[in-house]
C-alpha cells in the first residue's frame, strides 16, 4: 500500500483536457490561497508550487462539478480546500518517512528541516479550513474533517494490524477505503455538491470516487508484486519488506491450508524472502484474483457514470478508471 503521491503521474494530464481552463483558474486561486504575511511561509509555499503536483484531486472536483451541471465559485473553493489538505498531508508524510525527495525536488524537510515542514503542513491545513469557514462552506467542512479523521484512522488501523500480521480481506478493504479512497470520494462528492444541491448525484459521485480509489489502491498493491521482472521503475516487494499484507497475498493465503499459511507468515516476519513470498502469491492465484477485484471496482465506477448523459467530463472520468487499473507503474 504505497504513498498517496502515486496518482500524480505525468500520463494523467491527458484526462484533464475538458477542465484545462478551469484547472488553470484553480492554479491561480490556489497560489493566492497560500499567501501569508510571514515571508518564510511564502518562500516555502512558492517552493511547493515549483514541485508542480499534477492536481488530480482538484481536477476530480472540477470534472465532477462539470458532470453535474457546471463549475462555479464554490467548486473552486472546494478544489482549493482538498488540494491544501492534500498538500499538508504530503508535507507531513515526508517528515514521518524522512523522505528526501518529492516530485523530483528535495522535500521541504530536506531543505528547511522537520520543524518548518510540520509547521507548514499545519499552516496549509488550517488555512484551508479557515477559508472554508469564512465562506460558510459548512457542508464541505463536515465532509473534509471526517475525511481527515478517516485517513488517520485508516493508516493507524493498518499499522495496528501490520504489527500482528493479521490483516484479513474485510480489514484490508476498511484500511484502503479510509486511507486512500476517502479523499478521492470526497473530491467527487464536493464537486457534485458545488454544482447543485442534488443529494442523489452527490451520492453517485461519491460512490464513483470510492470505487475509483479502491481500484487505484488495489492496482498499486498489485504492482508491488508484479514489477518483479521489470528492469526500471519503483522497487518491488516494498510492502512485503515492511510486513504489509495486501490483497494479492490475502487471496493467496486464503487458498492454502493452515500449515502453509503459517510457513509464509513466518517468512514475512523474518523480513527477508521477498522473492519467495512473491512467487507463492503468484502461484496461488493471488495476483490474478486481485486483478479481478480491481476490475470489478472499475466496472462499478463505470456503471455509475453510465447514469449520466454523455459529455467530455464523463469521457474523462471513464478514461481515468481505465488508466487506474491498466497502469503498469
Amino acid at each position: 500500500m504505497g504513498s498517496k503521491e502515486k496518482l500524480n503521474i505525468p500520463v494523467i494530464s491527458g484526462f484533464l483536457k475538458p477542465v484545462k481552463e478551469e484547472v488553470d483558474e484553480f492554479n491561480r486561486i490556489f497560489k493566492t490561497s497560500m499567501k501569508s504575511n510571514v515571508a518564510l511561509v511564502d518562500i516555502v509555499t512558492s517552493y511547493i508550487l515549483k514541485q508542480k503536483g499534477k492536481k488530480i484531486r482538484p481536477a476530480l472536483v472540477l470534472l465532477s462539478a462539470k458532470l453535474c451541471g457546471g463549475v462555479n465559485e464554490s467548486s473552486y473553493r472546494g478544489a482549493v480546500l482538498v488540494e491544501l489538505l492534500h498538500t499538508a498531508t504530503l508535507v507531513h508524510d515526508d517528515v514521518v518517512d524522512s523522505a528526501d525527495k518529492r516530485r523530483g525536488l528535495p522535500s521541504i524537510n530536506a531543505v528547511w528541516k522537520n520543524k518548518v515542514a510540520v509547521l507548514i503542513g499545519d499552516y496549509l491545513l488550517s488555512r484551508g479550513l479557515n477559508l472554508a469557514v469564512a465562506s460558510k462552506d459548512y457542508e464541505f467542512l463536515e465532509i473534509i474533517t471526517d475525511t481527515v479523521k478517516r485517513m488517520a484512522e485508516g493508516e493507524l488501523l493498518q499499522i495496528q494490524k501490520t504489527r500482528k500480521l493479521d490483516i484479513d480481506e474485510a480489514t484490508y478493504f476498511k484500511v484502503i477505503s479510509d486511507k486512500t479512497a476517502s479523499l478521492i470520494e470526497t473530491c467527487c462528492k464536493i464537486g457534485a455538491l458545488s454544482a447543485h444541491k442534488n443529494e442523489e448525484h452527490a451520492r453517485m459521485l461519491a460512490d464513483y470516487g470510492n470505487a475509483l480509489g479502491l481500484a487505484f489502491q488495489i492496482q498499486d498493491d498489485i504492482l508491488d508484486y508484479e514489477g518483479v521482472f521489470k528492469l526500471f521503475g519503483k522497487p518491488i516487494g516494498g510492502d512485503i519488506k515492511e510486513k504489509k499484507i495486501t490483497l494479492p497475498l490475502i487471496y493467496a493465503l486464503n487458498a492454502v491450508d493452515d500449515k502453509e499459511k503459517k510457513r509464509i507468515k513466518a517468512l514475512i516476519k523474518k523480513g527477508s524472502h521477498v522473492k519467495e513470498v512473491i512467487e507463492f502469491t503468484e502461484a496461488n492465484g493471488g495476483i490474478a484474483r486481485a486483478h479481478q477485484t480491481a476490475l470489478q471496482f472499475a466496472e462499478k465506477a463505470s456503471g455509475i457514470l453510465s447514469n449520466f448523459p454523455d459529455s467530455e467530463s464523463k469521457t474523462a472520468l471513464e478514461a481515468l478508471i481505465r488508466f487506474v487499473v491498466e497502469r503498469k507503474s
Copy 2:
C-alpha cells in the same frame, strides 16, 4: 520562548476550584470525545489521558463562561475543542523536538514511533473540528482555525527571524502574540461566547486572555535568564543557545551603541558565551525592563476583569494573572 507545556504546572490547580465540578464533567466528555473504532487509537488516547495534563485551557473556557453568565453544553464543547487541538499540537511538538518525555511519562513518539504520533495528532485535530462542525459551532470553528493558523505563522516567523538574529521589539510581540497568546485568548473568547452572545464581553475576555498570554510568555522568557543562580529547575540560557532573541535581550541591546550590539550578536552567533550574554542583559537593565512589561500586561488583564462583578471565577482569573508574573519556574 519555551514550550507550550509550561502552563501545566501543579501549583495551578488551586485556581481551578471554582470550576472543579465542571472540570470533572469536562474530563468525562473529553475522554468520550477521543473514542474511535480503531483499537490502536484507543490505546494511545488512553495513554494520553494517563499523562494527566492540568487542563488549564479548558478551565479557562469554563471560568470565562462562568464569569459571563454560566457554563452550558456549548461551553463544554468549546473546552473539548481547545483541549483536543492543544493535545494534538503537543503530540506533534514532541515529534518535531524528538522529545522523549511528556508530563513525566515517555512521549507518544518514544513509545509508538513518529508515524503513529503524527497520525494521532492528525486524528485528534480532525476529531475536534469534526465534532464542532457536527454541533454547528461555526463561530468556534472560525476562531479556532484562525488560531491554528496564527500559531503556525508565529512559530515560523520566529524561525525566520532567529536565522538572521534580527528580532526587534515589534516582531517579538507579533511572534509571542501569535505563537502563545492566541490560544489563551481563544479559550477565554470561546468561553465568553458560550455563555451568551454578548460581543462586548467576548472582546473583553479575548483581551484578558491575550494580555495573560503575553505576560506568561514574557515571564517564561525572563526565567531563561534569571534561573542562572538556581541549583535546581529547568536549565537556563536555552534560548540563547538556540540563538533566540527574546525581550530581555532586545531591551538590553536597545540600551547600547551599535558597536556593542554587534559584539553581543557575534557572541550569540557562536552559540557559546551564554553566561556573558546573560550578564550583559542583566547589566543593561534588560531583565528589569522585561519584568516591567510583563507587569504592565498583568495590570491590563486585571483592569479588564475589574469591569465584571465580584465572583469566585473573577477571583480565580485574577489569581491566575498574579501567578503568571510571579512564578519562578
